[in-house]
Symmetry: C2
Subunit: 223 residues, 2 copies
Amino acid sequence: MEEVKVYGAWGSPPSHRVEIALKLKGVKYEFIEEDLKNKSEELLKYNPVHKKIPVLVHNGRPIAESLVILEYIDEIWKQCPLLPTDPYDRAQTRFWAKFIAEKITPAVRDAMLIPGEDAEKKTEELIELLHILEKEIKEKKFVGGNRNKYMDIVSLYVIHWIPILQEYSSKHVLTREKFPGIYDWIDQVLLDCGDIMENLPDKNKMFDVLRVIFGPRNNYKPT
Amino acid sequence: MEEVKVYGAWGSPPSHRVEIALKLKGVKYEFIEEDLKNKSEELLKYNPVHKKIPVLVHNGRPIAESLVILEYIDEIWKQCPLLPTDPYDRAQTRFWAKFIAEKITPAVRDAMLIPGEDAEKKTEELIELLHILEKEIKEKKFVGGNRNKYMDIVSLYVIHWIPILQEYSSKHVLTREKFPGIYDWIDQVLLDCGDIMENLPDKNKMFDVLRVIFGPRNNYKPT
């Protein structure tokens, strides 16, 4: 009997990556909601290096880092592959997943959630990164035009979280007018992946939590 | 006829990762040395996102990011596998490779090469990361005790570059006394991988370049 546990948090994009991958594969798992201000002893034991969610625990053995976990899930449960089969497409997918997880995600945080004195500069940096993504999507149709589930899962940050965060912060950086390629592609993913979008965190619940952590924003009006 | 090119730089650890992997696989390649102060148009074309070496160009198609390239090389040329076969060992390998490439490497740079006002704090942070590695190696024998070529290649940063950088900067952080586990493991890799160590950059040549870029260090004496 297989035991699969996910230590995560309901509002966290990396945590949702792991849950969605398991759902796509049809793998049953137990979800343990972590209080990020008071992390459990188990989480600290399972991820002593980064002390972060998500952690997948498979038959007692922990794996940390969401992109590493996605590769593990894809190797253990072969049904409904996440990564493409062609090595070049796999490399392109890994490259762009890394770009979204390690470049765009912190840039959004810096520009929208913890803008300091250099808020303008941080916003410019984010816009520059989004232009790189836009150019890739328009010219090369993103990871070579071959969409795959791995990329769709990682892209949910752009599709679901950025719109919420920019509404909350009133920094409307990613708009359909300025980034039509990204929006066309968002539309396609939404069309195909309605099922995996179902359990993503609710906008208004996110706003409530963001207000507690980061304070109210001047122009924010509940919708 | 297969065309394999590597755009790299002789002193760069990520660049050597790619070259060593190709050598282990017995793949012939053309090496293009980049002048990092005046990058070639080809490099900027092949890696417009990060504008960084290394880039592997395989039959005209570019791949960037050294860890992504290692996975690609391992998938294209099956001989002499880099990653282990067991999914859990693969996940552990990817986790620790990421730790060395994305945590330890910038921490060494901050502590040894560009120490600012907070030099002490940066050194403490590096020591903390090395203790994490030491603990992993002593308790769990590193990636589950199963050494593999992928990890050996990524670990060369700890084995070859850190000793050079700490001699240059006179910051002797990684010592045999304080980190016996890391040194035992370095000894093992050196014993097994003499062949792949052959073309790593020479210490004195590295010192010459470091002095040009970062200036002379107070306590540095040529050996």
